[in-house]
């Protein structure tokens, strides 16, 4: 869960263009076709009680708390799984519903350790909220009979704990792992009273397939799955929206704080790069900021064989400036320079290059990143005019074929990988070009159309072979090439690409991949309605 109660509409947004009008509790509302009654009601500001629904997951309809009455229909359907219909008249608050909901809550609570006041989720628990909402004061069933209160805790994951005694088997965790993260690590084992959440086939979380993204923890409405930092520090009090400093996905987070202490990092739904998802690094691995080895005071020493000496900022800065100027006097203006960091903020980098150009009065400024990224940046700049990726991340959700070259997103860009996997589960196809069988070649509910296990360092040959095949088999989009590309350069390139050395039969030997496999993959890319290329650092200068 999260402190910032991001509005939860209960079910995902419908992207349908058709609009439907209906009445809820006497108010008219217009929503896209395919919207649930629950979501439509929320749009009017009406919160229907719910436990198993949350708008990052498809509706499941298991808790039976969100019942409503619909005029002209019998029974009390679940509002999370019932789509709106034109002219519907819905009632969300009636005596009958109140009674039913209270009954449902009683059942949950009777099998729940009632230690709310000392529970780590006190004040941050949807079960507690719902008990209040339905007006539950005491429990008729008491603690007699069978319960799960003695189920054992799983503390194996370093960042969150799993306390099954508090589980209401709403399966939000399971669905978060499947739908949001795409790892399929969790299952609900057994049925009825015996049913419970387990990681893999009754593994501990640490030994399971779990990659510790924390999506399940965020989705859990109770204290069953809980961040250990919240257990340690208590529920956070305020939050600040910021950006993850680990990888190029750049996920938006709410840093949830208690005083000066970060209690938990919760990915923000409003973040366009991540839309409420995160990975183990951004969500959990921020403890280094207060690691004991961190240096907090400036230090100086006259020789690198001397021990360090802590000094004031003033002394460190004056020393640096004086030394730099002296070196320039003795060895010339160009005798000093700087390196900026690809982990620093834009503003921090900008001032470093300004320091070099304006105060050092030379252009001796470089960054480590350019060494490997400049070739590709240079390439895109030369062909298209800009050294940057062409799409937003969400674009991949419209791709039909994905050509992935020398990148391993499930490890290096995990949140983007989850998006990609979602698209693959919807039926898009992927061609993986990598010497190693990375997870996107085959993992639960994912199977690549092709894995081209090329020898390291042969990407360029592969890409040329693809182009050769597309030309040879006339899969070229002539209209596009004629209208949007430089004709002379194209003709020139065409002559080059047609050469024997770029033919699949020739290149096959270089790559260690069969010519026919290359042909099939190239056709798949070329024939797709929408085909996207994603490449990583494994790609050489000329690709």
């Amino acid at each position: 869960m999260s402190l910032e109660k991001d509005l939860d509409y209960g079910t995902p947004e419908s992207l349908c263009q058709e609009l439907i009008s209906l009445e809820i509790d006497g108010h008219q509302v217009v929503v896209p076709e395919g919207t649930s009654i629950m979501r439509a009601a929320k749009q009017l500001g009406t919160s229907i009680p719910k436990l198993c629904a949350t708008d990052s997951l498809e509706a499941f309809g298991s808790c039976r708390l969100c019942l409503v009455e619909i005029e002209g229909r019998r029974g009390t359907p679940a509002s999370c799984t019932t789509p709106v219909e034109a002219g519907m008249i819905v009632h969300t608050q009636t005596q009958k519903l109140a009674k039913l909901r209270k009954g449902v809550m009683e059942l949950y609570i009777s099998d729940h350790p009632l230690d709310c006041l000392t529970c780590s989720a006190n004040g941050d628990c949807e079960l507690q909220d719902m008990a209040g909402t339905v007006g539950l004061r005491d429990v008729r069933y008491g603690y007699q009979g069978d319960n799960h209160l003695n189920a054992t805790r799983d503390n194996s994951n370093p960042y969150f704990s799993f306390d099954p005694s508090k589980c209401i088997v709403c399966s939000r965790c399971v669905r978060a792992c499947d739908e949001v993260q795409g790892t399929f690590a969790l299952t609900i084992s057994k049925r009825g009273f015996e049913s419970h959440v387990s990681a893999g086939i009754e593994d501990s979380f640490l030994d399971s397939e779990c990659v510790s993204c924390g999506a399940c923890v965020q989705a859990c409405p109770t204290a069953t799955l809980m961040e250990k930092t919240v257990i340690e520090h208590g529920v956070p009090e305020h939050s600040i929206e910021t950006t993850c400093a680990y990888c190029g996905v750049g996920c938006t987070f709410n840093a949830e704080m208690k005083g000066d202490q970060v209690v938990r990092m919760v990915p923000a739904k409003s973040g366009k790069a991540n839309e409420g998802h995160a990975c183990v690094k951004g969500r959990f691995a921020w403890g280094y900021a207060s690691h004991k080895e961190r240096i907090l005071k400036p230090m100086l020493r006259s020789s690198i064989d001397d021990p360090w000496r802590e000094v004031s900022w003033e002394e460190a800065i004056q020393f640096t400036a004086k030394k730099f100027r002296e070196l320039q006097q003795e060895y010339g203006r160009k005798a000093i320079g700087g390196i900026s960091s690809s982990r620093a903020t834009n503003e921090e980098v900008f001032v470093v290059q300004k320091l070099v150009r304006a105060a050092f009065e030379n252009n001796n400024i470089d960054t480590c990143a350019r060494v490997c990224h400049s070739p590709t940046g240079f390439g895109l700049n030369k062909t298209l005019g800009t050294s940057a990726g062409t799409q937003d991340f969400i674009s991949v959700e419209s791709a039909d074929v994905i050509l992935l070259i020398g990148a391993n997103p499930t490890d290096a860009h995990p949140v983007f990988a989850s998006r990609m996997k979602k698209r693959l589960r919807e039926g898009a196809q992927i061609i993986v070009v990598d010497p190693r069988r990375i997870d996107l070649v085959e993992s639960p509910h994912i199977k690549a159309a092709a894995h081209l296990a090329i020898l390291p360092g042969t990407n360029v040959a592969l890409i040329n072979a693809f182009a050769h095949i597309i030309v040879e088999e006339d899969l070229v989009d002539w209209d596009y090439v004629n209208h949007r590309c430089d004709k002379d350069l194209f003709e020139n390139w065409l002559a080059f690409i047609k050469r024997e050395q770029n033919s699949p039969s020739y290149v096959a030997k270089v790559l260690g991949v069969e010519a026919e496999t290359l042909r099939k993959a190239a056709r798949l890319y070329a024939r797709a309605e929408r085909a996207a290329i994603y490449y990583g650092l494994g790609v050489t200068a000329h690709s």
Binding site: A289, A359, N364, G379, L384, G389
Partner: protein, 396 residues
């Protein structure tokens, strides 16, 4: 280039669902390049030799600027070894760990009369530093990062700088102490200057970011809300340019002495050289780098799961534990290099290696064999490490 050719050839640029996209390594690779971290380019990828661009910076900054490109990192090191390059200011990069030629980099850094390192931890480079300026973690920063989709997102301080100073303040104060009047009251003024001087960022400000959440550059009068997809009706350069991309096979060849090809990558729980992730519980998933070797190659060498093996290239050797894996074909071995102790730069061959985020692009021919000891370099690493950090940890 080849990939852009492929996309143009099939009409896959300028629409939703298509495109050519790098997946960048470090969080702000895109941003640090955009911000002009280049010896030959101002922010926004404009050459320092371009008079009009230079003039706009000169007018804003109030002084004449050099119109000649400066040194790239390898040049800086070469000049340092020669003795004509004497002082360096390094912001948050562990260059000593990224250069494969450890002797060259050591010689270069040792030759500097003033090496200033600004970072959170005493990294490898700091072993050769004279000044250490403590940096801030993202929880303390106030600014922006640019992700792989050109999206500028705000980094807001959850806590005050634990060091007492923002990193931009440190840089600013060095400039001031050197006699150049650089002044900002806060980092939003730096972004205002970036916007003023860089056409692709003209429409960016902290206010707007706080209002809109995030923005994808170019963001200016033509695209006030930023640009999610580029090259929609025409390419930024006008007509798309097909470029010839000749395949040049690597010079690194397998031989009977070095019969295997090494490829490298990264793992989910660790981040690059692991300076941060190594200092968290993420180590439970990846306490050390492991060498993946095909069972066929392993059997030939009598290697079993978990054995300590020596990984040797023409350049050097390092020891790692083995994991039998069929993820690669026989003849290819794989490892991650998240731990400095693994000594990537000892084995691999090209400049600018994995710490600078290009783990897989080079090819190294290697041999693997069972061993019972760590390599000489690794021993040297441990000794040096102990010597450097001991007095420090004792004093604190």
């Amino acid at each position: 280039m080849g990939m852009a050719n492929l996309a143009m050839l099939t009409g896959n640029l300028g629409f939703n669902g298509c495109g050519v996209n790098p997946l960048r390594g470090q969080n702000n690779v895109q941003g640090s390049c955009d911000m002009g971290s280049f010896p030959h380019e101002f922010p926004g990828y404009r050459p320092v030799s371009d008079d009009l661009t230079r003039l706009s910076f000169e007018n804003d900054w109030g002084l004449r600027l050099d119109n000649e490109p400066g040194y790239r990192i390898p040049n800086m090191f070469n000049e340092a070894v020669k003795g004509s390059f004497k002082g360096m200011y390094i912001q948050g990069e562990d260059v000593a760990q990224s250069d494969p030629d450890i002797h060259h980099v050591e010689a270069a850094l040792r030759n500097l009369d003033c090496l200033v390192v600004q970072d959170l931890f005493l990294n490898e480079t700091a072993k050769y530093a004279h000044v250490f300026l403590p940096g801030t973690s993202f929880l303390e920063k106030n600014g922006t990062f640019t992700n792989a989709e050109r999206r500028l997102g705000r980094v807001r301080p959850a806590i005050k700088p634990r060091t007492g100073k923002h990193e931009w303040q440190i840089t600013m104060e060095i400039a001031q102490a050197m006699g150049y009047p650089m002044h900002y009251d806060d980092s939003s003024q730096i972004m205002d200057e970036i916007a003023r001087l860089t056409p692709t960022f003209a429409g960016v400000s902290f206010d707007k970011l706080d209002r809109d959440g995030s923005l994808q550059w170019p963001c200016n009068d033509e695209a006030p809300n930023g640009t999610p997809i580029m090259h929609i009706d025409k390419f930024v350069r006008g007509l798309g340019a097909f470029e010839i991309t000749e395949f040049i096979p690597t010079e690194e060849k397998v031989t009977p002495k070095f019969p295997l090809l090494l490829t490298t990558g990264r793992i989910l729980s660790q981040y690059n050289v692991g300076a941060q992730t190594r200092r968290t519980e993420n180590n439970v998933w990846h306490p050390e780098d492991i060498l993946e070797i095909h069972p066929y190659d392993a059997a030939e060498r009598g290697i079993k799961n978990g054995d300590l093996i020596m990984l040797k290239s023409r350049k050097g050797e390092t020891s790692l534990h083995a994991l039998l894996s069929e993820r690669m074909q026989p003849g290819v071995v794989y490892t991650t290099f998240h731990m400095p102790f693994s000594g990537a730069n000892i084995v691999t061959t090209e400049y600018s290696d994995w710490a600078t985020n290009c783990p897989e692009y080079k090819v190294t021919a290697v041999q693997c064999s069972l061993t019972d000891h760590i390599s000489e370099w690794q021993q040297h690493f441990l000794d040096y490490q102990a010597k450097q950090t001991k007095p420090l940890l004792q004093s604190s």
